[in-house]
C-alpha cells in the first residue's frame, strides 16, 4: 500500500490501459515519425536550403516532429482521459480508498510523458538512420529543452481538463489548442524559416521557444537562456492554473 503521489499499482494499470488504446499509440508514438518519413521522402526536402541557414528541410523538421509528439500527448491524450475520469466518478471512487485520486493524475502524466519521449527517440532514430540527420550535438541542452516542452504540454493538457466539465468538451478544447501549438512549434513552417517578426512573437510561446531551444541544441549550442526560461515559465504558469482550477469531482 502506498499513500504517496505515485502509486505503482495505479501506474501499472494506467500503462496497461494506454496499451489498449491503439489510437493513442498511433497519434502520440507513430504519427510524428511517420510525418517525418513522408516529408523526408520528398526529394526537395533533402536539399540544403539557404532560408534555413544551409540546413536541409528534413533536418529542420526533426525538432518540429519531436515537439509534435509531446504536443499530441499533452493536448490530445490527457484532457479527455482525465476529464472522463472525473466525469464518470473514477476519481471520486478512488477518493473513498486509502489512495488519493492524485495518484491517477500522476500516473497519467507519467504514462503520456513516457510515450512522448519514446516517440521522440523514434523520431531521432528514423531521422538519423533514414535521412542522415545528425543527432543533437548538444545532447544535454537538447534533453533539457525537450523535458521543459513536455512539462509545458502536460501542464496545458491538465489545465484544459481542469477547465472542461465533460470529456467531450475536453476533447474539443484539446483539439482547439492543438493547432496553435502545432503552428508555433513550426509544423507548417519551421520557426527558423519564419519571417523575423513572426519568429520573435512565436518565441514567446511555450512551443515556439522550445523549438528555438531545440534548434540551437541540435546545432551544437547550449540553448538560449531566454528560450528555456520562456518554456519553463509557461510550464510553471500552466501548472499553477491546473492546480488552481482542477476539481476532483
Amino acid at each position: 500500500m502506498s499513500t504517496g503521489p505515485v502509486n505503482t499499482a495505479v501506474l501499472r494499470t494506467e500503462f496497461r490501459l494506454f496499451r489498449r488504446e491503439p489510437a493513442g499509440i498511433f497519434w502520440i508514438m507513430l504519427f510524428p515519425t511517420l510525418l517525418l518519413a513522408v516529408l523526408g521522402s520528398i526529394p526537395s526536402f533533402r536539399e540544403a536550403d539557404p532560408a534555413l541557414g544551409g540546413l536541409r528541410p528534413v533536418d529542420a523538421y526533426v525538432p518540429v516532429t519531436l515537439l509534435l509528439g509531446l504536443i499530441i500527448g499533452g493536448l490530445q491524450g490527457m484532457p479527455p482521459t482525465l476529464t472522463g475520469y472525473r466525469e464518470t466518478g473514477i476519481l471520486r471512487r478512488m477518493s473513498t480508498t486509502p489512495v488519493r485520486p492524485s495518484a491517477l493524475l500522476a500516473a497519467q502524466m507519467t504514462v503520456l510523458g513516457a510515450a512522448s519521449l519514446v516517440s521522440a527517440l523514434l523520431t531521432l532514430a528514423v531521422g538519423r538512420l533514414a535521412f542522415g540527420v545528425a543527432l543533437p550535438r548538444q545532447p544535454l541542452g537538447h534533453l533539457l529543452a525537450l523535458l521543459l516542452a513536455l512539462a509545458a504540454s502536460l501542464a496545458l493538457g491538465a489545465l484544459l481538463s481542469a477547465l472542461s466539465r465533460t470529456a467531450k468538451i475536453a476533447t474539443a478544447a484539446g483539439s482547439a489548442a492543438l493547432f496553435p501549438a502545432m503552428f508555433t512549434a513550426g509544423v507548417w513552417l519551421p520557426v527558423e524559416a519564419m519571417p523575423e517578426l513572426m519568429a520573435d512573437i512565436v518565441g514567446w510561446t511555450p512551443f515556439g521557444a522550445a523549438a528555438r531551444a531545440l534548434d540551437a541544441a541540435s546545432a551544437g549550442h547550449w540553448p538560449g537562456a531566454a528560450h528555456l526560461a520562456v518554456t519553463a515559465g509557461w510550464a510553471v504558469l500552466l501548472t499553477a492554473g491546473a492546480v488552481r482550477w482542477f476539481r476532483w469531482e
Binding site: M1, T13, L17, I90, S95, P98
Partner: protein, 300 residues
C-alpha cells in the same frame, strides 16, 4: 457502542437545502437503513459520512474519526459503494479487483468475493462490456475488498435481477455476521424490511421517523388492512364513521380499508348488524411500503 454518529447535519447546494438537521447513530454490527423518496437527502447524508462532502453544519463521526479532517484514516475502516461512479472502460474485472485490493493494508481475498458475487466467469471482461447488474456486483465487491469495519452501500441492488438481489442480501447478512456495520441507502421496501435492524426515514432533508421495520409499520395510521366483498351494498356513511379508519377504497365491488385493530372489530360488528356476509375476508398487516408512503406524504 455506536460507530457512526451524525448530529444535526446540514448541507445546502447553492440556495437549495439538501439535508436540514439530520441526526442518527449506528451501532457496531448493525444494518442501518436510510429510506426516503428521491431527492430527500439520503445520498448527501451518506456522502458526508464517507467524507466526500463537507457538511455546512453539524457533526459526523465514523469510528470516532472526522471523515473530512481524518479522511485518510476513515478510508481504512470504511468501504463505500457509490451511486454513479464508474471504472476505466477498458479495465477488466480481475484487474479492478486486484488494483483496489492493493490500495488496502489488509485486503480480502478477491477470489471468493468474486465467486460470491457471480463474477468469476467475467474476470477477463472489460468494465465497458459488463451489464448493469454485473457492474453493480463489481462495485459491491470493491466496497468490501478492503475488509472494512463499516460499509456504506448506496442503492445496493439497483439494476440487479431478483435472483442476484437475493444473493446480494445473503452476502450482506454474512458480512454483518462477521461483525461489519452496514449503512444501507435504499428505496426498496422489501430490501429494507429484510435486511435492516433499524431504519431512518428521511424526507425533505429531515428524519421523519427512526425505528425498526416492524415499529415503523405499527406507527403508521393504516397499520392493519381489511378487505372483503360484501354480499349486499354497505352504507358509505357507516364505513366513513368507522373508528381509526385511515383509508377506504372500493374496486369491482370489493372494499379495502386500512386502519387500526379497532377498525377491524368495528367492521365485523357493522357487517353482523347489517346482516351482510363478507366474502373472501382478508385481514393483513400493512407493509413497510404503506408505512413509508404514510410517513413521507408531502403536504404539497
Amino acid at each position: 457502542m455506536s460507530v457512526i454518529d451524525v448530529t444535526d447535519l446540514r448541507k445546502a447546494y447553492g440556495g437549495r437545502t439538501a439535508v436540514d438537521g439530520v441526526s442518527f447513530s449506528v451501532d457496531e454490527g448493525e444494518i442501518f437503513g436510510i429510506l426516503g423518496p428521491n431527492g430527500a437527502g439520503k445520498t448527501t447524508t451518506v456522502e458526508c459520512v464517507e467524507g466526500l462532502r463537507v457538511p455546512d453544519a453539524g457533526r459526523v463521526r465514523v469510528a470516532g474519526l472526522d471523515p473530512v479532517a481524518d479522511h485518510a484514516e476513515v478510508t481504512r475502516v470504511l468501504g463505500a459503494q457509490l451511486q454513479q461512479s464508474e471504472l476505466q472502460p477498458k479495465l477488466t474485472v480481475r484487474e479492478a479487483l486486484e488494483l483496489y485490493a492493493s490500495f488496502h493494508p489488509r485486503p480480502a481475498d478477491w477470489r471468493p468475493l468474486a465467486e460470491r458475487l457471480g463474477l468469476t466467469a467475467k474476470l477477463t471482461t472489460r468494465f465497458a462490456k459488463l451489464s448493469g447488474g454485473q457492474k453493480q456486483r463489481l462495485f459491491i465487491a470493491l466496497a468490501l475488498i478492503g475488509n472494512p469495519r463499516i460499509v456504506v452501500l448506496d442503492e445496493l441492488t439497483t439494476g440487479l435481477d431478483p435472483r442476484a438481489r437475493r444473493d446480494t442480501w445473503e452476502l450482506i447478512e454474512d458480512v454483518r455476521a462477521g461483525g461489519v456495520t452496514v449503512l444501507l441507502v435504499t428505496h426498496f421496501m422489501e430490501e429494507a424490511q429484510r435486511l435492516c435492524d433499524r431504519i431512518a426515514v428521511i424526507d425533505q432533508g429531515r428524519v421523519a421517523a427512526l425505528d425498526t421495520p416492524a415499529g415503523l409499520v405499527r406507527r403508521s395510521a393504516g397499520a392493519t388492512v381489511i378487505s372483503f366483498t360484501p354480499s349486499a351494498p354497505l352504507d358509505d356513511a357507516h364505513i366513513d364513521a368507522l373508528p381509526g379508519l385511515a383509508s377506504a377504497a372500493r374496486k369491482d365491488g370489493r372494499i379495502t380499508l386500512s386502519g387500526t385493530d379497532d377498525t377491524v372489530n368495528a367492521v365485523l360488528t357493522l357487517l353482523a348488524r347489517s346482516h351482510v356476509t363478507a366474502h373472501q375476508l382478508r385481514v393483513t398487516d400493512a407493509t413497510l411500503d404503506d408505512a413509508f408512503l404514510d410517513l413521507t406524504e408531502s403536504p404539497a
